[in-house]
């Protein structure tokens, strides 16, 4: 751990793969900018890799005042041991007060290892971060300007706010898609500090033999309307209706974890805690019971329409609109109504008269 350092910077770990930044660091920079401005300290990005210097300009455009750049051929591929060593050396040298990581496969491997080595606290999967004060229940000690780390816990049934009062840096991971992406400012520049990597002679205990990644086929995060099917859809054929409704609305298709597990739809479509977190203008869920893990990934949607045959399904508890009925009948009616756009006003008129 490091001592409390009120002048310490706010840091964002700039996750990159093969020279490409993922979305998460750019999302973290927008939240990090807010936190740093509130604390009156600089915002820095920490970039590790091999031949990744061109990314420094991108990070600066997205809000970083400083980029700590650690380049070495050993860092070309992410490995727990090498990355932990460099991040810990950086923290020890510059004593940041806050370190944020994306809650990605890499971030959820790296951040806990760094926290363990630094013997400091770490809060996983935060959905919000704020600066605030904390009074210790037992000692009554009052500390201001702490990082309030807000996350769902207990399967999403409670919201816990966690603080790391004494053993700094204050570390947190944030899931992809939870924070809004920062907007690049064309003229914005920052300072790059090259950090010497001291990995000579370090014998890494792992070796990457093969690595295969495929780009996501579905852009759920960018969709304005999402139509999601759950286990209640019943079978893969019925799931066709979900596609039909999404197509006519110009929306994307989502699946609950149960629907993915049952093979109705590919994992890329999964919405929820272990899938993608979304916040569309309209989220239509059909045959989705509304398990907390699913709700955690979609409850920020502006409007939620639930269609479910079970009137007691928890999903109705967070829906704005609901239809209790069989989706196999309701969806074709919706498609018919939307298609017959001309007759729509009449239908509504006659409905409102009744």
């Amino acid at each position: 751990m490091i001592e409390m350092n009120r002048k310490g910077e706010v840091w964002v770990f700039a996750e990159q793969e093969a020279g490409h930044l993922s979305d998460v660091p750019l999302e973290l920079l927008s939240k990090g900018r807010e936190l740093a401005d509130q604390l009156g300290v600089p915002l820095a990005a920490v970039l590790l890799g091999h031949k990744v210097r061109p990314l420094c300009a991108t990070l600066a455009k997205h809000g970083a005042d400083v980029v700590y750049l650690a380049e070495d051929s050993v860092l070309a591929q992410y490995q727990t041991t090498s990355y932990t060593r460099v991040v810990c050396d950086l923290i020890t040298a510059y004593k940041p007060q806050i370190c944020l990581f994306g809650a990605t496969a890499m971030g959820r491997d790296l951040a806990p290892t760094v926290a363990s080595a630094m013997k400091c606290g770490l809060t996983a999967d935060c959905t919000d971060l704020q600066i605030g004060e904390h009074t210790d229940v037992q000692t009554k000690e009052h500390i201001s300007n702490l990082l309030l780390q807000i996350r769902p816990a207990f399967g999403g049934n409670i919201i816990a706010t966690i603080v790391n009062p004494h053993r700094w840096p204050q570390m947190a991971t944030v899931r992809e898609g939870v924070m809004r992406m920062s907007v690049a400012e064309a003229g914005r520049t920052g300072k790059t500090i090259a950090f010497p990597v001291s990995l000579a002679g370090v014998d890494l205990p792992t070796e990457v033999l093969d690595s295969q990644r495929r780009p996501k086929k579905v852009n759920l995060k960018g969709a304005r309307i999402i139509v999601t099917g759950g286990a209640g859809v019943g079978n893969r054929d019925n799931f066709r209706l979900i596609w039909d409704l999404a197509n006519i609305l110009g929306g994307a298709v989502g699946g609950s974890r149960a629907a993915v597990d049952l093979g109705y739809v590919d994992h890329d479509h999964q919405v929820g805690q272990t899938g993608t977190t979304v916040r569309p203008a309209l989220y239509i869920c059909c045959g989705v019971s509304g398990a907390v893990q699913h709700r955690a990934g979609m409850q920020e949607s502006a409007k939620i329409l639930a269609i479910n045959i079970d009137k007691d399904a928890p999903i109705f508890g967070i829906a704005h609109f609901g239809i209790v009925g069989d989706m196999n009948e309701v969806i074709p009616r919706m498609i018919k109504t939307i298609r017959s756009g001309a007759g729509l006003s009449d239908a509504v008129k006659s409905a409102s008269k009744a």
Binding site: L209, S211, A347
Partner: protein, 302 residues
């Protein structure tokens, strides 16, 4: 050659099955009403270790940290084929966050010096996925997260890792700690023969409680004697679940429990599941038309 394996398991409230009964009238979850279960991915971790023993020989020791009730998941592990079960229970370990928990587990595992440690990727009550990596760091073991496939050749492991948008194959030196995904395997069910044998397995804390119930009015000395007798009897039958406290594992109390936990809870709010402006439409043609009309009127669609 055989491998000595340790599997870390946790008893958790079943947060996935929150139904009407577990919801209070005010819309918050009644945690006490949730059944306690074997953390799902810990079952995958156990299966992976049992598979290693089946293939190569060696032992499988299961460790749970928690209240005496955690003996249930330890017994379940014995039913499925674990060789030995250890309960770490100590009031001074209460309020441990992930860092303190991984420290306590590391003290216990250091006594066992296993070749391989298996953890579930994450537990469903906290979903942090932090204890596995932190435990590896404290033990100085090679960390390999998100294991989906494991092959061993003497001094190294070859692991296929599921990294969400693809996979990675890594070769790792031993000793190593793996966090196991639910996609790694299908956990074997409890075996009837083992269940019949091990259903009577008890930890000392459970035996003492049973004696307290049976000899409530007897002297403390008589109860202690009876407890010691029963513990010896269980041990002779090979049915004693080992029980360790923080002194047994030589843990530094400064790194355990609340004192050893850098994170503190600032506030807890219950999620209230009560939609403010919920509007229901009938599933008829007219209901659907009304709904579509409403969505068009507020420019949500159209």
């Amino acid at each position: 050659m055989g491998y000595n394996c340790v599997v870390c398991v946790k008893q958790v409230p079943d947060t996935k099955r929150i139904t009407g009964q577990a919801m209070r009238d005010d819309g918050t979850v009644n945690r006490a009403a949730l059944p306690a279960i074997f953390n799902p991915e810990d079952l995958n971790a156990l299966e992976e270790a049992l598979h290693v023993r089946d293939q190569h020989g060696g032992t499988v020791t299961v460790i749970a940290m928690g209240l005496p009730a955690a003996c249930d998941v330890l017994r379940d592990s014995l039913f499925r084929g674990a060789d030995q079960a250890i309960l770490i229970t100590d009031r001074r370990a209460a309020a441990s966050d992930t860092l303190a928990t991984s420290y306590i587990l590391s003290c216990a595992i250091r006594k066992l010096k296993p070749d391989l440690v298996f953890c579930g990727r994450q537990a469903i009550d906290g979903d942090t996925a932090q204890v596995g990596p932190q435990l590896a760091e404290k033990l100085g073991y090679t960390l390999v997260t998100y294991l989906e496939e494991l092959t061993l050749d003497g001094q190294a492991a070859c692991v296929r890792r599921n990294i969400g948008n693809g996979f990675e194959k890594v070769r790792s030196r031993l000793p190593a700690l793996f966090t196991v995904m639910e996609t790694a395997n299908h956990p074997r069910p409890p075996a009837l023969r083992k269940a019949l044998k091990c259903k009577k397995a008890r930890a000392p804390v459970e035996i003492a409680k049973a004696v307290e119930g049976a000899l409530g009015s007897a002297s403390a000395e008589a109860k202690a004697q009876e407890t010691a007798r029963r513990i010896a009897e269980m041990e002779a039958k090979g049915l004693l679940i080992a029980q360790w406290n923080l002194d047994d594992i030589e843990a530094d109390l400064g790194w355990c429990g609340g004192a050893g936990s850098p994170t503190k809870v600032h506030r807890i709010q219950s999620i209230v599941l009560a939609g403010g402006d919920y509007k229901e439409f009938p599933p008829s043609d007219r209901g659907v038309a009304e709904l579509i009309g409403e969505l068009i009127q507020d420019h949500t669609i159209g």
